[in-house]
């Protein structure tokens, strides 16, 4: 499963999609991928930054949605405190 997690005041909002089914063209899975991509782009427009993450990998910043990613975390825009 692919996961997009968007940090928020009430705790992260999570959207999931079935990567394998999306790859073989399953309509429902592809719709889930499109929704995750829409949310990713919406957050980017608000200044959020996306990172590909995992416990066994170094975090990597991404500027475009990657449906093959296992997990993406979106961090809101930051400002100097």
């Amino acid at each position: 499963m692919g996961k997009l997690r968007v940090m928020a005041p009430v705790g992260d909002r999570t959207v999931t999609w079935d990567r394998e089914r999306a790859e073989v063209g399953d309509p429902e899975a592809r719709e889930a991928v499109r929704e995750a991509e829409r949310i990713f782009e919406e957050q980017r427009k608000r200044g959020a930054v996306g990172f590909k993450v995992g416990p066994d990998r170094v975090a990597e910043r991404i500027d475009r949605f990657e449906p093959e990613a296992a997990e993406i975390v979106m961090v809101p825009r930051i400002v100097g405190g």
């Binding site: 992260d12 930054v49 975390v73 930051i78 100097g80």
Partner: protein, 144 residues
């Protein structure tokens, strides 16, 4: 001037002290977090937000780092651009401190534009410093 066997000024001081202590105790009790009603929906929402953030932190941090955070209250990440620099990310209000060659050299202050649970704040610093260091340094205020 005395009242019976007690000086009036002494009596006044005692009375003022008692009133002051009661005033401070009353203010403290009113604003003590433990007085927050756990049944209040806003409190429950906050507790749930903190729980979700903690779970996300556990899932994303590399092996051993979450344990270090629990034991020491901070995690560290090496700078990708400055040799011998380490950022210490604290769970508590200390935020991010900078060490170079093992010596403290300053602090960084950066906050998200919307309020986040404390676990998400730690993860925010970690991800930004690990994989988006230049942008983070361009935004954060450097203290000292």
């Amino acid at each position: 001037m005395t009242t019976g066997t007690v000086d009036t000024p002494v009596l006044l001081w005692v009375l003022l002290t008692v009133l002051f202590v009661r005033l401070v105790a009353g203010v403290t009790v009113r604003f003590t977090p433990s007085r927050r009603n756990p049944a209040c929906p806003a409190t429950q929402q906050r507790v749930e937000a903190e729980r979700r953030a903690e779970r996300l932190l556990q899932e994303v941090l590399p092996a051993g780092e979450y344990e270090q955070l629990c034991l020491r209250g901070y995690i560290e990440t090496r700078s990708g651009s400055v040799p011998d620099r380490v950022y210490r990310i604290s769970r508590y209000p200390e935020g991010v401190t900078i060490y170079e060659g093992g010596r403290y050299v300053g602090s960084l202050c950066a906050v998200p534009i919307e309020e986040l649970p404390s676990g998400d704040i730690v993860l925010m610093h970690k991800l930004m410093l690990s994989a988006n260091e230049d942008e983070y340094l361009g935004v954060a205020h450097r203290l000292r």
